[in-house]
Amino acid sequence: MTHRSTISTLAAAFAVALALAVPPAFATDAAPTEKDPVAQARAVKLSETLRCLVCQNQTIADSNAELAVDLRRQVREQIAAGRSDDEIITYMTDRYGDFVLYRPPVKATTILLWGGPLLLLAIGAFALVRIMRERRSVPEAPPLTPEERARAEALLAAPSRKDPA
């Protein structure tokens, strides 16, 4: 085996090991919803919309931080207690604010967040259209005056001295 193929084999093995080593955090929690597949699905779905405040770019479904484990347990307990999804979301935002939501709500303070990309797109499109219009309307050369035309024709009619033919 060549050196290069050893490295790529190792890299592949490492990737496979990494994929196997990170099971969904949910599989490990024992909790009230475990026996009920519908409640379980709801718990997973809700947990995927909630941010873990410790490891901020993970949902509480992905994270194994202690806080995420607690919040997952809360979600499950509240589902078992018959609360609706909205009630559970409200419970979380009452304590942790909108930051706990992975999908921030559209309101006055987040309008720039939601509208910003559209605004940028509009500015870009406007600039593009303007630049393209400018390029298309390159001014044509002014028409020749009769004297100029006569001179040009005379020049073209005269045999060129440098013409090898």
Binding site: V54, D94, Y96, G97, D98
Partner: protein, 176 residues
């Protein structure tokens, strides 16, 4: 003169300003929605007298601090000497919430590092912490006479935070 070259420069200046401001922000500090709202009510056993309880109702009518701490919390050691000083000064009641901790560990830790708390309560399962929106320990809340949360210190209490924010706020609230 054609000033078109100024456009990219302007765009760059705007981006630069945004990034510069962004550098100064702390992503760990999540603004609490509880500021200005009544502190979640709790009644818990006291750490040093497990047969007695203490709750938010006991603190009605006075300005007080709630400090969330644990023996396993490394950053708590950083703020602790300052809390001990504050406890000695007796300017404001300081309630300790022993968060997700074994009471024996908590008591040993206080014996070792000093006990600044007017009273310590046990929150073994972290339920009180959850109600207060605690996501990192230590955290410190300033609660007014009516039981409304006025300020939340995320992370260790620093000399600066104590002198510039917490103590002035406490004095102001005590006057009203």
């Amino acid at each position: 003169m054609n000033r078109k070259f100024l456009i990219p420069l302007g765009v760059f200046a705007v981006l630069f300003a945004f990034l510069l401001v962004g550098l100064g922000l702390n992503p760990r500090e999540v603004p609490s929605p509880l500021i200005g709202k009544p502190a979640p009510a709790f009644v818990r056993n006291q750490l040093h007298a497990p047969d007695k309880t203490m709750g938010t109702a006991d603190m009605k009518g006075q300005v007080w601090l709630l400090n969330v701490w644990a023996s396993w919390c490394v950053a708590c050691r950083e703020e602790h000497p300052l809390l001990v000083q504050l406890g000695k000064a007796k300017v404001v009641p300081l309630v300790g919430l022993n968060y997700k901790d074994e009471p024996t560990d908590g008591k040993r830790w206080l014996a070792q590092h000093g006990d600044p708390y007017t009273v310590s309560v046990v929150d073994r399962d972290g339920a009180v912490g959850l109600d207060f929106g605690v996501y990192g320990v230590p955290e410190t809340f300033v609660i007014d006479k009516a039981g409304v949360i006025r300020y939340k210190q995320i992370g260790p209490v620093t000399v600066e935070a104590l002198e510039k924010k917490i103590l002035p706020l406490v004095r102001e609230l005590q006057k009203s």
